[in-house]
Symmetry: C2
Subunit: 326 residues, 2 copies
């Protein structure tokens, strides 16, 4: 069962840096791709194509772009790439325009988007985990600086859903293979989601708050200790929630990961730098909420979460205090 | 025993905003005061006097200024007001120039300066706690925006020191009374030091990290919870260290205090805003070190401490990362 790219329309809902990268790669390989994006980005793409500026090549890719959720109509695959803040609103916006056969893949941070998509819209999406370093330096221009892989799997819901097409993850994998995008099918996607979640919780808030790189944070002795505490809290919450995380040294793994990411910074850091609302509610904020439900103490996740929220609010307030108190 | 201000030379070692305020108030009341300050501030004062810009009056006060630690020579009282980072170096710098009768008062944040002054220089200083909101908007100009009180007491060392003049706190109180500066003698200055320490640890790092006011931090529900956790850790460390903190609701007291401080921000926030090294080592950092010695867990103090240090270092690094990782 090989996918013919030209017969499998792909629509990216929420084409920021990540969605534009994957959509661009698929289009370049011959898929029929539409990007649903913000007006400036969509306009630039319609005018001059998407400038796909990767670590191995740089070229303009012709690709459809729209600002309308109704553009998902006719898609066989929908890459659902909106920020986790917009999960519900975006799910509701596309729901009237897809069919039961449309395969919607949540390519998002966090671990609860598929459940949220279902609750908001009834769409039975597939969870995916994405590893890519990409940015949108200007409308119409994706700057890719590393990796670009997907992991996809089937969502195990409680209570179980009625029987459904269990070949969906394989179809996504075939789509990616045909487009030259590395994609692995996971037998336990929850483990992969939480693996990334742990890394995000350990590094994103810290790099955002200090506006620094993963490697710098991981070199700093006290910050390393903070990252260890965050990771231990996350792993405790995951295990208590029934996630079958393997028995590895998660703190070591998390610190190594941060070192490997080097001079890159987190999406959370970029959001803060631009005065945008972050995805912290789906990262450390989720750990805090889930920890409360499961009666697991998460003081360090709470602190990081609260500080990022306070920073977001401080930007919003504009007026800055000027007095000093000894 | 009333002090004649003109017979009691006062020298302020480390005349930043706080030291200049108190030195200025005493000089205005008739004391012979010398401010030892950074070159720009000292030069401005020598040229035009100190502009004392308070909530109740604004006037130029003639006052001696020097950049040399040797200017403490002949002082009866030394207000030791350097940042806690400079405690040892400043103590050693003045030690050769004072006599056993000189009363050195540590007017600093934190709880360990008197011990550090002693260890570094042999000087037997008096601990004081200061409540004042003041800033130096420009050299030679103190902007006072609230309070201006001292609490002074005797340091109880372990092992006990040889007998000494136990009237020293009273003499400081009389000096202040003669100069119109509110000053209370405390029977247990450690309790007063820790009371301020708890407030500093609860509010300074948070307002520094988010570059916001005490009131904003205290209004934010998640930050309130963080402040509660910080306070509980501090109180546990203090009690374990033998400090006789009264049995009050410290979390409530801390949050009320932050609300009262209103739109003011912390000295730590100001240091961060100016790219200066903060006193965090003497605040949350001290709690972390003392907690380790006493085997009290301090994860939230550690997180705040590590973040402030990481922010300080990030400024120092200059080169900023530019990549984003999803």
């Amino acid at each position: 069962m090989a996918i013919n790219l030209s017969d499998a329309p792909v629509v990216v809902m929420g084409a920021g840096a990540v969605g534009s990268y994957f959509g661009g790669m698929m289009s370049r390989a011959g898929a029929r791709v539409t990007l649903i994006a913000r007006p400036g980005h969509a306009q630039a793409i319609r005018k001059s194509g998407l400038l796909l500026d990767t670590v191995t090549f740089k070229e303009h890719v012709a690709i459809d772009a729209s600002t309308e959720p109704s553009a998902v109509r006719g898609a066989q695959f929908v890459l659902f790439c909106v920020k986790t803040l917009d999960t519900e609103i975006a799910a509701r916006a596309i729901a009237p325009h897809i069919t039961p056969g449309t395969i919607v893949i949540s390519v998002q941070n966090g671990v609860d988007n598929v459940a949220r998509i279902r609750a908001a819209s009834g769409i039975d999406a597939l969870p995916a985990v994405v590893y890519v370093a990409a940015a949108l330096p200007e409308p119409g221009h994706v700057k890719h600086s590393g990796r670009g892989e997907l992991i996809v799997g089937e969502y195990r819901s409680e209570p179980p859903l009625p029987p459904r097409d269990n070949t969906r993850p394989e179809l996504v994998s075939e789509l990616c293979a045909a487009a030259g995008v590395p994609c692995r099918v996971s037998a336990d996607i929850e483990v992969d989601q939480w693996t990334k979640m742990v890394m995000n919780c350990a590094g994103n808030a810290v790099t955002a708050i200090a506006q620094t790189s993963f490697a710098h944070a991981a070199r700093h002795l006290d910050t390393r200790e903070v990252m260890r505490l965050v990771i231990n809290e996350c792993v405790a919450v995951a295990r208590s929630a029934g996630v079958r995380l393997p028995d590895v040294d998660w703190t070591e793994k998390g610190l190594k990961n941060a070192e490997t990411l080097g001079e890159a910074t987190s999406s959370t850091a970029q959001d803060i730098a631009r005065g945008k609302t972050t995805e912290i509610d789906s990262l450390n904020g989720y750990i805090v909420r889930r920890g409360k439900e499961l009666e697991i103490a998460t003081p360090v996740n709470l602190t990081l979460f609260a500080l990022v929220k306070l920073i977001e609010e401080s930007f919003a307030r504009r007026s800055r205090p000027t007095e000093s108190s000894a």
